[in-house]
C-alpha cells in the first residue's frame, strides 16, 4: 500500500504535466486528478500506518523496489522504509498536503498555468514522500533534492517576473550548499560503515564510531549543514523569505508544513549519530535557538504578510532544532506536526486574504501591493471565517494554553531547561527560546491586528470587492483550525493524564540513542512552573502588542513614512542579503570573470602559452627567412659558418 501512496502523486504529476501541454484548459480534470491522487494517497498511507500500528513487529517494514547502485560493497537499493517516524511524517505530508491541494483549487483557479501548477504540486508530494520513506541515505537524497527542485519550480512559478525566478534560484543554490554537507556526510558514513542503509548504519554506528569522537562529530555537523540549508537556519535562511514569491499555497505546503521541516526529520532519523556526538547536538540546539530569536526580531517589523509568516517559520524551525539538538526528538517531531497545522493554516489564511485583496486591486486596476498589511485592516468584517480560523492559529503559535503550540513549544523549552543542569549552555538556549516565544506572540498579534482589525485601508473602490473566499478555500482552513487547536493532545506533558503518546509511538526509532543521552528529568513542580512561565510569556507578548500597536493610526502603504534606525535594519533583514552579496556573490562573479576567465584562461593559458608559442614560432621563422636575402654573399657566409660548425661537431 505504501508504494501506492508514493506512486499516485507521481502519476498525478505525469497526467497533469501531459495536460499542461495538450489540454491546458481542462481545469476540471486537473482539479480532480491533482486533488484526487493526494486524497487517495492519504487514504492508502493511512491504511499503511494503521497496518503498521496494528502489526507486531520489531524491525521497520522495508519495501525493496529494485537495486539502484550496486557497486562492490556499495549496495544501494531503491527501497522504502516504513516505521513510526515515517508514519508520522506520512500523515502530515499527505494529510496537510491534501488540504492544501483542495485550497489550491480555489486559489489558483484563474491562473493560466493551472495544470502545470498541479503537476508541480503533485511532483512535490511525490518527492517529499520519497524523502521520508527512503530506506537509505541516497534514496532520502533523491527526495531531498527533488523537493528542492519542486520548491525551485514553484517559487519561480510565475517566472515572467525576474525577481521570482531569482528567488527560486536562490533557494535551490542555498539548498545545494546544504546538500554538499549531506553528501560529504554520506561519504564519511560509507567510509566508516561500508553501507548507507539506515538500518545497517544505525546498527553499526555504536561499534564504528567513538562517542564524541572527531569523526562522528564531523559527520553530524555535515548532516546538520544539510539541515541548515533545507530548513533555513542561520546562516542559510535568507532564501526562505524570498521563497514567498511563490503562490501562497506553495508557501503553506513547502515552505511551512513539509519541506523545510525535512532537516528536523533528518536529525530525528539519524538520532543515534547525533546522540553520539554531543558537541554537534549542542551546536544544533544553539543554532536553532539563535535562529529562533533572530528571525523573530525580523518578523517584528515586516509589512508583507507573507514575510512575517516566513520569518516566523524560520523562527519556529529554530525551536524544532533546539528540540532535536538537545536530544528531545519526539518533542521536535511534535512541534513539527503542530507547526504544520497552524503554520499551514496561517499561510492559507493569508493566502485567502491575498487572494481577495488581489482580486479587489485587480478589479480596479490598482498597482497597490496586495500583500502589504498597511493596505489591509478591518478585514474581519469582510472575511469572518478567515479571521476566526486565523485567530485560532495565532493563539496556537503564540502558545496559549490548551492549543497545540503551547504544548509543543513548552515541551521543547522544558527539555532544554532540563539539560541546563548538565551544561550551562542549555540555560542560555532556553533563555533565547523563551525570548523568541515572547516575540512570537507579539508579532503574530501584530499581524492579526493590522490585517483584520482597525479601519479598512484598502481604498474606497476596492473595499466593495472584498468578500469571503469560496468554500474550497475556507473548508481546508476549518479542518486545519481543528488540527491547530487539538494537535497538542498528541503529546501532552508528563504531568497531565494521557501524556507522551507521540513520544511513546516514536520510541522504536529513538530508543537507540537513549544510552548516549544524558538523563534529563524535570520534577513535576518545575514542569508546572515552566508551563506557567510559558503562559505568562504568551500573554505578555500579546498584551504588549495590543497595548503598543495602534492599527487605527496606521496609514496605507503608499503614504507610509520611511523607516529609520533599528526599524529599518529589521525591515531589511539586518542587511544579511546585502552582506552575502558583497562578501560572496559579487567576489565570486568578479574572480570568475576577471581572474579566471580573462586573466588565466584567455590571458595566461591562451594568450601567453598557446598564442605565445604560435607567435614565437612565426617570429623565429620570420627571423630565419631574414637570412634569406637573395644575396649569394650571405649564403656563402652562412655556408662557411656551417662548415665550422660541422667540423667542430666532428672534432668534439
Amino acid at each position: 500500500m505504501i508504494w501506492l501512496a508514493v506512486l499516485l502523486p507521481f502519476l498525478g504529476f505525469l497526467v497533469n504535466g501531459w495536460l499542461s501541454f495538450f489540454r491546458p484548459d481542462a481545469k476540471r480534470a486537473v482539479s480532480v486528478i491533482g486533488v484526487g491522487v493526494l486524497v487517495a494517497s492519504f487514504i492508502s498511507a493511512l491504511a499503511g500506518v494503521v497496518g503498521l500500528a496494528g502489526a507486531v513487529h520489531d524491525a521497520p517494514y522495508i519495501v525493496h523496489m529494485w537495486s539502484w547502485m550496486p557497486v562492490g560493497e556499495l549496495q544501494v537499493d531503491l527501497a522504502f522504509q516504513v516505521d513510526e517516524l515515517s508514519a508520522v511524517m506520512l500523515m502530515v505530508v499527505t494529510g496537510v498536503g491534501a488540504l492544501i491541494h483542495v485550497f489550491s483549487v480555489g486559489y489558483m483557479r484563474e491562473d493560466r498555468s493551472y495544470p502545470r501548477y498541479f503537476a508541480y504540486l503533485n511532483l512535490f508530494v511525490f518527492f517529499m514522500l520519497v524523502l521520508i520513506l527512503g530506506a537509505n541515505f541516497p534514496v532520502l537524497f533523491i527526495g531531498w533534492e527533488g523537493v528542492g527542485l519542486c520548491s525551485y519550480l514553484l517559487i519561480g512559478f510565475w517566472f515572467d517576473d525576474e525577481a521570482k525566478a531569482t528567488a527560486g534560484k536562490k533557494a535551490f543554490i542555498m539548498n545545494r550548499i546544504g546538500d554538499f554537507g549531506l553528501l560529504l556526510a554520506m561519504f564519511m558514513i560509507f567510509r566508516a560503515v561500508g553501507s548507507l542503509d539506515f538500518l545497517e548504519v544505525f546498527d553499526a554506528a555504536p561499534a564504528a564510531f567513538v562517542t564524541n569522537g572527531p569523526e562522528i562529530t564531523l559527520i553530524t555537523l555535515l548532516l546538520f549543514l544539510g539541515c541548515i540549508g533545507k530548513s533555513a537556519q542561520i546562516p542559510l535562511y535568507t532564501w526562505l523569505p524570498d521563497a514567498m514569491a511563490g503562490p501562497t499555497p506553495v508557501s503553506a505546503l513547502i515552505h511551512a508544513a513539509t519541506m523545510v521541516t525535512a532537516g528536523v526529520y533528518l536529525i530525528a532519523r539519524t538520532n543515534i549519530l547525533f546522540a553520539m556526538a554531543p558537541v554537534s547536538g549542542a551546536v544544533v540546539a544553539l543554532v536553532g535557538a539563535v535562529t529562533a530569536l533572530f528571525a523573530a526580531t525580523i518578523a517584528l517589523k515586516q509589512w508583507d504578510i507573507k514575510k512575517v509568516l516566513a520569518y516566523s517559520t524560520v523562527s519556529q524551525l529554530g525551536f524544532m532544532f533546539v528540540a532535536v539538538g538537545v536530544g528531545a526528538y519526539a518533542a521536535g517531531i511534535f512541534h513539527l506536526v503542530t507547526h504544520a497545522f497552524f503554520k499551514a493554516l496561517l499561510f492559507l489564511g493569508a493566502g485567502s486574504v491575498i487572494h481577495v485583496m488581489h482580486h479587489a486591486y485587480h478589479h480596479t486596476h490598482s498597482g497597490e501591493d496586495a500583500q502589504d498589511m498597511r493596505n489591509m485592516g478591518g478585514l474581519r468584517k469582510f472575511m469572518p471565517w478567515t479571521a476566526a480560523v486565523m485567530w485560532v492559529a495565532t493563539l496556537a503559535i503564540a502558545g496559549v494554553p490548551g492549543l497545540s503550540g503551547f504544548f509543543s513549544k513548552d515541551q521543547i523549552l522544558a527539555e532544554a531547561f532540563a539539560r541546563g543542569q548538565g551544561a550551562f549552555l542549555f540555560y542560555v538556549i532556553w533563555a533565547l527560546g523563551a525570548v523568541a516565544a515572547l516575540l512570537t506572540a507579539f508579532y503574530m498579534t501584530r499581524l492579526m491586528l493590522y490585517t483584520f482589525h482597525g479601519p479598512n485601508r484598502t481604498g474606497e473602490a476596492e473595499a466593495k470587492q472584498l468578500h469571503e473566499a469560496p468554500w474550497v478555500m475556507t473548508g481546508p482552513l476549518v479542518v486545519l483550525a481543528a488540527g491547530s487547536a487539538l494537535g497538542g493532545f498528541l503529546n501532552l506533558p508528563h504531568v497531565l493524564p494521557g501524556a507522551g503518546w507521540l513520544e511513546h509511538w516514536l520510541k522504536p526509532v529513538t530508543e537507540g540513542s537513549v544510552p548516549y543521552l544524558s538523563e534529563a528529568h524535570l520534577s513535576a513542580g518545575l514542569e508546572w512552573r515552566l508551563m506557567g512561565l510559558a503562559t505568562l510569556i504568551a500573554a505578555a507578548g500579546m498584551i504588549a502588542a495590543w497595548y503598543f500597536l495602534k492599527p487605527d493610526r496606521l496609514g496605507a502603504a503608499k503614504a507610509a513614512p520611511a523607516e529609520a534606525g533599528v526599524q529599518r535594519v529589521l525591515l531589511n533583514n539586518y542587511y544579511v542579503d546585502e552582506l552575502y552579496n558583497t562578501l560572496i556573490v559579487r567576489p565570486t562573479d568578479w574572480v570568475s570573470r576577471k581572474v579566471l576567465w580573462r586573466i588565466i584562461d584567455m590571458g595566461a593559458i591562451d594568450g601567453a602559452v598557446v598564442h605565445g608559442a604560435a607567435k614565437v614560432s612565426r617570429l623565429l621563422g620570420w627571423i630565419g627567412t631574414r637570412f634569406q636575402t637573395g644575396n649569394l654573399g650571405t649564403y656563402v657566409v652562412l655556408f662557411v659558418i656551417g662548415v665550422l660548425f660541422v667540423l667542430s661537431a666532428v672534432a668534439g
Partner: protein, 514 residues
C-alpha cells in the same frame, strides 16, 4: 643467392651496369633525335615520349636485375649490386617518369620548346643511378657531378625567365663551391684509409683503429658538408628556396624528390656501409644538422605566404626528418630512408603537380590564399592536394605517416628518443602551414567567381596527381609490402663483421699506419 656477377670482367660490368647503360643509350639516341627535330611543340612532345619510353625501359632493366638478385663476386668494386641500389634507383626512375609526365603538358603551356629539357632529365637520372650504385668514392663523385651539372642547367632551362637564370647561377656557384668541400673530404678520407672503396674504408678503419684519426674525421666532416648542401640541410639550405622557386615547377619537383633522394642514397650508403662502425665520429654532427634542419625548415616554412616557396622550405624540413634516419646509422635507418624517399617522391610530385595546375608562369606568385574555395570548384584536385598536405604532415592513413613512423622507429631503435621528440615537435609546427592549405581549399570561399576556371589538370599530369594521391592512401593503409621491400633491400647494407675482419688490406693501406 641470385645471379653472381664478376665485376672484373667486361661482361660482368655490362650486366652490372645494365640499367645505366640502357638509359645512356636512350639518352644518346634522344640527343640525335633532338639534333634533327627541335623547335616545335610536336617535336617537344615527341622528345618527351621518347624520354618516357627510355625511363620505363630502364626501369624494366633495373627490375630484371633485381629479380635476378644479382650479387657481386666478392666485395663490390666500383659498382654495388644490392637491393639498396635497386630500390633507390627505382625511386629515382619513378620520380623521373612522373617528372616527365608532368612536364609534357607543362612545357607546352609555358612554351619551353627545348628538347634538351628531357635529355637533361635523362642524364641527371643516370647520375643519380650511378650515385646509388657507387661502391667507390670516385664513382660516387662522378655520379653526383653528372646529376648536378644537368640539374644546374635544368634550373635555368626557361631562357625567358630571369628568375630561372638567377636560380641557376646561384645553384651552380654554390653547388660548385660545395663540390669543392665534398671532394676535399674524399681526399682526406682517401688519405687516412688509403682507399676509395666503400667496403675497404670500413675495413681500414676497423683494422687500423682510425676511429679518432684527425684526418679521417676532417674528411668525414667535409664529406658531410658536401652532402648536407645537396640535401639542403640547414645551414647549407640557403640555395633551396631560391632555386626551387626559380626553376620550372616539374623540375622543382624533380629536385625536391629525386635529386634529394639520390644524395641521401649515397650518404646513407657511406654512413651505414663504410662508417657505420665508426658512428661515434659523425653521429653528433649529423644529429645537430638534423635538429636544426627540422626546426629551421619548419619554422621558416611557417613564415611563407607563397605556396611554392612554402613547399621549398617544407622540403628542407623533410630533409631533416631523413637526416634523423641517417643519425641512427643502422639498416633500419636505411630502410626507413627507402620508404620515406618513396613516399616523399610521390607526395612531392603530386603537390608540385597541383601547383603547376593552379599557377602560371613558373607559379612563383601562387599564394596560399589563392587556393581559397578550390574544393568547391575542383573537388578532386582539392582532394588530392589535401591528401598531399596530410601526407606531408605525416598524418595516419597516408604514406607520409608510415614513412615518418619508420624514421621514428629507426631513431628510437638507436636510442635516439630525444631526436624522436624533436621530430614530432617539428611536425606539430608543420601543421601550422600544411593545414592552412587545406583550410583555404575547403573552408573559404573563392575570391572571385572566375577563380580556378583554368585550374584543370590535363593529360599525363592528371594521371600523376591521381595516381600519387591514390598510392599515398593505399600505402597509408597497407604499407606492409612496401615495408618488407624496404627492409629486405637494406638488409645487406652493413658489411658483416666476419667480412670486415677477414678482408685483405693493401700492403700500403692508409696514411695513418705510417
Amino acid at each position: 643467392m641470385g645471379m653472381v656477377v664478376n665485376l672484373a670482367t667486361p661482361a660482368g660490368l655490362f650486366w652490372g651496369m645494365l640499367p645505366e647503360i640502357v638509359l645512356t643509350g636512350w639518352a644518346l639516341a634522344l640527343m640525335l633525335v633532338a639534333g634533327w627535330r627541335h623547335g616545335g611543340e610536336e617535336d617537344q612532345r615527341f622528345a618527351g615520349q621518347l624520354a618516357l619510353a627510355a625511363l620505363v625501359s630502364t626501369l624494366f632493366a633495373l627490375w630484371w636485375l633485381w629479380a635476378k638478385d644479382a650479387r657481386p663476386d666478392g666485395i663490390a668494386l666500383m659498382i654495388a649490386l644490392d637491393g639498396f641500389r635497386y630500390a633507390s634507383s627505382t625511386i629515382f626512375l619513378l620520380g623521373a617518369i612522373m617528372t616527365v609526365m608532368l612536364s609534357l603538358g607543362y612545357v607546352r603551356r609555358e612554351r619551353i620548346h627545348t628538347p634538351e629539357y628531357y635529355l637533361l632529365i635523362l642524364f641527371a637520372t643516370i647520375g643519380m643511378m650511378v650515385m646509388s650504385a657507387a661502391a667507390d668514392l670516385i664513382v660516387l663523385f662522378l655520379g653526383l657531378e653528372i646529376m648536378s651539372i644537368c640539374v644546374y642547367v635544368l634550373t635555368g632551362i626557361n631562357r625567358r625567365s630571369v628568375f630561372g637564370a638567377e636560380a641557376a647561377l646561384k645553384y651552380f656557384l654554390l653547388g660548385a663551391f660545395a663540390s669543392g668541400f665534398l671532394i676535399y673530404g674524399i681526399a682526406l678520407i682517401y688519405g687516412a684509409t688509403g682507399t676509395t672503396n666503400l667496403t675497404l674504408i670500413a675495413v681500414s678503419i676497423t683494422n687500423l683503429g682510425l676511429q679518432s684519426n684527425g684526418m679521417l674525421m676532417a674528411g668525414i666532416g667535409l664529406l658531410i658538408i658536401g652532402f648536407a648542401f645537396k640535401v639542403g640541410a640547414v645551414p647549407f639550405h640557403m640555395w633551396t628556396p631560391d632555386v626551387y622557386e626559380g626553376a620550372p615547377t616539374p623540375i622543382t619537383a624533380f629536385m625536391a624528390a629525386a635529386v634529394k633522394a639520390a644524395a641521401f642514397a649515397a650518404l646513407m650508403r657511406i654512413m651505414v656501409h663504410s662508417l657505420g662502425e665508426s658512428i661515434g665520429t659523425w653521429q653528433n654532427a649529423v644529429w645537430w644538422l638534423a635538429v636544426v634542419t627540422m626546426l629551421g625548415g619548419n619554422l621558416m616554412a611557417l613564415a611563407q605566404r607563397r605556396l611554392k616557396r612554402m613547399l621549398a622550405y617544407s622540403s628542407i624540413a623533410h630533409a631533416g626528418y631523413l637526416l634523423t634516419a641517417v643519425v641512427s646509422g643502422t639498416e633500419t635507418g636505411a630502410a626507413a630512408y627507402l620508404f620515406y624517399a618513396f613516399a616523399y617522391t610521390l607526395v612531392t610530385l603530386g603537390a608540385f603537380g597541383v601547383l603547376a595546375v593552379v599557377g602560371r608562369n613558373g607559379e612563383r606568385d601562387v599564394r596560399i590564399d589563392d587556393l581559397a574555395g578550390l574544393a568547391a570548384k575542383r573537388p578532386w584536385l582539392a582532394f588530392a592536394m589535401a591528401v598531399f598536405m596530410l601526407s606531408l604532415l605525416g598524418f595516419p592513413g597516408t604514406a607520409g605517416f608510415m614513412a615518418k613512423w619508420y624514421v621514428l622507429m629507426s631513431a628510437i631503435e638507436a636510442d635516439q628518443w630525444k631526436l624522436g621528440i624533436i621530430l614530432v615537435l617539428a611536425s606539430v609546427v608543420s601543421a601550422g602551414y600544411y593545414l592552412p592549405v587545406v583550410m583555404e581549399m575547403y573552408m573559404n570561399q573563392p575570391i572571385t567567381e572566375e577563380a580556378h576556371q583554368e585550374s584543370v589538370a590535363v593529360g599525363a599530369g592528371r594521371w600523376v596527381i591521381g595516381a600519387t594521391a591514390a598510392l599515398l592512401l593505399l600505402i597509408g593503409f597497407f604499407p606492409g609490402r612496401l615495408m618488407d621491400v624496404s627492409r629486405s633491400s637494406s638488409d645487406d647494407l652493413k658489411p658483416s663483421a666476419a667480412f670486415t675482419l677477414n678482408a685483405p688490406t693493401g700492403p700500403d693501406a692508409g696514411m695513418a699506419s705510417r
